[in-house]
Symmetry: C2
Subunit: 537 residues, 2 copies
């Protein structure tokens, strides 16, 4: 059997090496139009920042190694210009020699990935100091520009993971960094409570963060950026990391079915609509393991996993892809942000409104052991079933640990009710007897049991607002963070002793900010005969 | 309803506070014979080492706080001397005043814990410099002795978690430390491959580790320790942390059913054999969530979880304890050791022989990002089903992350085949596109698929040994670590090109050390028509 793989960066190389291990006889050919295969793309920001100094380290496998170790033919700078699914033939162009030729295949694997999108800004195409960052070749260009032109001021357009990582690494080089995004927060899929911490961390480390603005015009060969707020930014360099689009043109031209956004449609064994053609990685849309909805899986870790699995499937194993969760981590100076599954933002974008959330800020390890820091955890779940929809984690330490644990819990189908039952490694340097993830579960359980006792302020009638007692139970000296005015303030620790101060006969509304306090207060009041509800904004 | 809790350290305090939150009306009384409740016992070594300086931080809750915040009565220095299950009555003694009185209960919760066992060594009872370490009072005594007597040389008997933590902390104080254990390795439940790293780390940091010896005689008021190997140790201080025994005497005297080792027998709702009497924590034996066998749950995290769950159960929730996994972490100077479930040692002790293991040593995060270190992972599973039986992890970074993830996977009932499918947070500072835990799963899957191709050297006949070709596939320059002699050495990377060197007609035995190499070599040879087996020692 002859198998051709188009694209050798992440999923393609994983597929090919696994497929070779499963079978010595098959002929395997990788066609890659770029200069390299098997690149650690996620490492590029750190290479630019000088954190990773060895360029060779970014190249996980060379064509020579794949030939030597795996008996796989690799042709870089060879572009597939057309696929003929009926005849099982490809048209290939050698980009260096210009030579064109045909190849036949028994099975074809599309791992063509995605490419950066340049936003339609007047002047950006002709700017001599503007770059995108996707391939090692892109990275080489930026590194070379920095070394030869010695820019002092760099502007990054796009405050997603790549933009934020670049900001940190350019600061590492001593550059002045401006980070621009049209959204009103950094790290787009994160909800505002978490993104706020990241924005502050960027600013604390000298990054000028400009949100809610776009670049409308690039002038002076890229040295002048005219923003939508009327201001003008002078910059020595512009890096655009605003998003990617799937490299699915050859698939489309060959008649394969695509989603409206250009991703290739595959089934749960990565088969496309054409016989003997499979696709993996950034170019496909798969289904969410959590909601079952279509979702792109734009992570190199997902591409690797899919490539490995497809090799088993093409080798005859009756396996299928369980779907994509989406688990990521980003270092933002001294903070780590990590996300699993959905945020409120992505749920809303998917049209899902039936969810509730837990937000807690426990210490990452025992508070009495040195260097304990607050860990911000937001967990989102389905209130009627307790199904976990996603988690967001921001803090200095132990962040990726909790997101990894949550992802394992989701893979096992655990509900939020089952989180407290997960035994997690405890010793004072590492955690508390009840790990933060256990605590998030306990709070979720309490919320679910109290679900009919929680109301949104906006859902209260005018009468309810007038008659009810709005109770603030924070300890004295805590600063206010909510916007609902309270009628009465009694610290939780004094509540039992001061019950007589609370009017009877009407509902007591406990103002919810975060944590277990409102829940504990509601238990005390309900246990003493009050009609009590927790009110959220 | 009146509920009495005997013992307020870990599970008892957790039970009481949760039970109060569930119901305001019940009367809750904690009787604790020691001086404190709610102590962070696991922090004691760090308090002694000066890492934790605030003694108050070790006391998570005082009786006054429990009264104030939770309306719970706590009486410390009150010992329960007898239980009368039929009459629902307790005999209580005030240890300070000597007063004796009776209490009645509707429900009784035994959270009496365990106490250190002093081994029967002649002279140890009268040594003035010998200590155990369990309670805060014990910790105070040791701290006081160090401050007033300024010992230079300390001997620790027992190289389990507490002994190892104490060794690190006493070194932190600049003391000379000798660690003695009768076993032939440190950190008893860990298998030797992992324990070896820990022993070396202790020695590297100046701890004199003496294994396979016992103390036979304590002389000169504790200043002279006569060891079983004939040597004599001079010491200024001796701390014995060799093990604990359950405080189940009052339960036994009241007629409750105990296991042979003295732990109280409970069902999966913590009910003992006596009506309205429940027990949690170190004093009970529960069942393993992995094997279903009886197992003590000697971790404060387990006691806390059990206390919380029992409160829900006594409040009428139809819940049950899913069983104990056993997840722990220990800091050993610059290393972390963490364990989940069973080791080979504990499996063998439980009479279980149907298991296989994976041992891999990947980097904890992307090898090209600074400070990547080897993480040692041993995973044990059931070969026929792929069920995960346990994991052991030793390394500098990311150790507790992987054990936590594995524990979550076990809680969700995932098999080793499903480990690669868990999406784990990747970015170069945190992991690789295939996380070490994913890799362990891949290796396990390969092993299972190859199960009939793996043989133990001892199981080979003399003829098989003579006829077969024993092939060493390590790269040139790697030092030997096994004891089976090879007939032929061909590095894996040269294997395809040098196939003609390998005799045909008889089985090729690939020597197994670790990792994926032998598997890959077997795939190449099998794919080229060889009868091939991987041979283990």
């Amino acid at each position: 059997m002859k198998v051709i793989v188009i694209g050798g960066i992440a999923g393609g190389a994983s597929f090919a090496t696994r497929f070779r291990r499963l079978n010595e006889q098959n002929e395997i050919l990788i066609l890659e139009r770029g200069e390299h295969i098997s690149i650690a793309s996620c490492a590029l920001p750190y290479y630019l920042g000088g954190v990773i100094t060895d360029r060779n380290a970014l190249i996980e496998r060379t064509p020579a190694i794949l030939k030597q170790n795996n008996n796989i033919d690799v042709r870089v700078r060879h572009e597939v210009t057309a696929i003929d699914p009926a005849r099982h033939r490809l048209s290939v162009k050698n980009l260096d020699s210009g030579e064109q030729y045909e190849e036949t295949y028994d099975k074809l694997v599309l791992s063509t990935g995605a490419r950066p999108v340049l936003p339609p800004i007047s002047g950006i195409e002709t700017a001599t100091n503007a770059f995108t960052l996707r391939s090692l070749t892109d990275g080489d260009r930026i590194k070379n520009y920095i070394q030869t032109e010695a820019p002092q001021q760099v502007t990054i357009l796009g405050a997603g993971a790549a933009g934020v990582e670049l900001a940190e690494n350019f600061r590492q080089l001593g550059l002045s960094v401006t980070l621009v995004d049209q959204a009103d927060k950094v790290m787009q899929p994160y909800d505002i409570e978490l993104a706020d911490f990241l924005e502050k961390e960027l600013e604390k480390n000298g990054v000028d963060v400009k949100l809610g603005v776009t670049i409308q015009l690039v002038a002076d060969s890229g040295r002048e950026l005219h923003l939508s707020d009327g201001s003008v930014l002078n910059t020595d360099m512009l890096v655009v990391v605003t998003g990617v689009t799937p490299n699915s043109e050859i698939a489309k031209n060959a008649g394969l079915q695509l989603w409206a956004d250009g991703h290739i449609i595959v089934n749960n064994q990565f088969a496309t609509s054409a016989p003997d053609i499979y696709a993996i990685g950034d170019v496909i849309e798969t289904t969410s393991r959590i909601t079952g909805l279509p979702i792109p899986s734009l992570l190199s870790s997902a591409a690797n996993r899919q490539g490995h699995l497809l090799a088993d499937i093409l080798n005859g194993e009756p396996l299928h892809y369980p779907g994509f969760v989406g688990v990521s981590a980003v270092k933002v100076f001294n903070l780590t942000a990590s996300m699993v599954g959905y945020s409120e933002q992505t749920l809303q974008a998917a049209g899902i409104t039936n969810y509730a959330s837990v937000f807690i800020t426990p210490f990452d390890h025992a508070y009495f052991y040195p260097n304990a820091k607050r860990l911000n955890i937001k967990l989102i779940y389905e209130p009627d079933t307790g199904k976990i929809l996603g988690g967001q984690f921001v803090g200095e330490n132990g962040v990726d640990k909790r997101s990894g644990e949550l992802s394992a819990a989701i893979a096992g189908g655990l509900t939020i009710d089952e989180l407290p039952g997960i035994e997690l490694p405890y010793s004072p340097p590492y955690s508390a007897p009840r790990d933060p993830l256990n605590m998030a579960g306990y709070v979720g359980i309490n919320q679910r049991q109290q679900a009919n006792q929680t109301v949104k302020y906006d859902d209260l009638t005018e009468t309810e607002r007038c008659d009810g007692t709005f109770l603030d139970i924070r300890e004295t000296g805590k600063t206010a963070s909510g916007t609902i005015d309270s009628d009465l303030a009694i610290p939780l620790t004094e509540l039992r002793d001061r019950l007589t101060e609370i009017p009877t006969g009407h509902t007591v509304y406990i103002l919810y900010r975060k944590g277990l306090g409102p829940y504990n207060a509601s238990r005390i009041l309900a246990g003493n005969g009050y009609d009590v509800k927790i009110v959220t904004e």
